[in-house]
Symmetry: C2
Subunit: 202 residues, 2 copies
């Protein structure tokens, strides 16, 4: 220890943590000093998990979801509806949709949404690959399930234009009240969408 | 991917991140998906830094600061005042004090402060080792530089009692206005301490 600096391995881990999004220098120090004091196994388990992530997973060449197999198990599954495609922003969106057990088609993961503010254009997403998939034919319906945000909606609008004219039905997820939510506390845009999308009772 | 679950390496890294203090399941997911998309080197560098931290650093057997050498370079340094000791809570406090270039004695790192709320008692800190160092003699002055918090002050009071009767001068750091701070926005306790500690102008 050279007097006014931390030992190099300590400083290095602080620097590496601080490179992660949402972790500032203070959090990075806090995490490093926590691990210094924690059992060795804790740091080693994290190190191994990091290596495994990169060595054992990759993106499916068809749908770009994360997978250990190539192609991924969903793309391989002949029991799923091959004519139905759901386009999502992130792999976690696939997890969320699978949890509903209400979708039996296939997926396409864009890996983000168009965002001029963050400098993310269509060419930074898996949109060319999506268009190619659709052009190869076989899909009857495509659900564009981007997030209900400005970026997600812009991306949906862009995709709607790019995918038009292929004889495929383009749909979006319904907007409305959250189940278990409270009408009184629902924001006005969601409430307006819920009104516009009002349905018959049966 | 088994339909509704993430690939095991992804889930595992999320779990490992979520074990860290201050990182919840959402942040853990965010970090994992960031690393999935980032260059391999980023995850590998973090993994290596984690291993290095545990394999190359340990606590100095004399002062309990973090070090790559044994004893640490400060404890080894014969040019420092061997009669002056500064007791701090954390290794980062040593870094802060060294940056001032105003202290040329040695350190003792407690690794925390007494906190009944968090269940941290004197026996969880390096206090027995401190008492032993002081009993071995050689120190003229001990600066108890715990944090100006409830826990730090309690710890200082406890140490004051434990270290009394060894013929060593016990001191604390001055409390008062922050340099560059604003009197108007100084909290009343600090301002009271600044008044109580008022000094002659010269």
């Amino acid at each position: 220890m050279a007097g006014n600096v931390l030992p190099q391995p300590v400083q290095r881990l602080i620097d590496e943590f601080a490179r992660l999004p949402g972790i500032g220098p203070k959090s990075a120090s806090r995490l490093t000093f926590y691990l210094l004091r924690a059992a060795d196994e804790h740091a080693f388990a994290l190190a191994e998990a990091l290596r495994d992530l990169k060595e054992r997973t990759h993106f499916c060449s068809i749908c770009f979801n994360i997978t250990e197999k190539e192609p991924c198990l969903i793309c391989q599954d002949a029991g799923r509806d091959q004519t139905l495609l759901c386009v999502v922003e992130e792999p976690l969106d696939v997890v969320a949709l699978e949890r509903t057990h209400a979708f039996n088609g296939r997926y396409h993961v864009l890996h983000g949404a168009i965002s001029p503010v963050e400098g993310i254009g269509p060419e930074d997403l898996r949109i060319a690959e999506l268009v190619q998939r659709v052009e190869q034919g076989g899909f009857n319906e495509i659900i564009i399930a981007t997030n209900p945000t400005l970026e997600g909606d812009s991306t949906a609008l862009y995709l709607q234009r790019r995918l038009a004219g292929h004889g495929v039905k383009l749909r979006s997820l319904a907007r409305g009240l959250s189940v278990g939510g409270d009408l009184e506390y629902t924001d006005e845009i969601t409430l307006r969408r819920a009104l516009e999308g009002r349905q018959d009772l049966h």
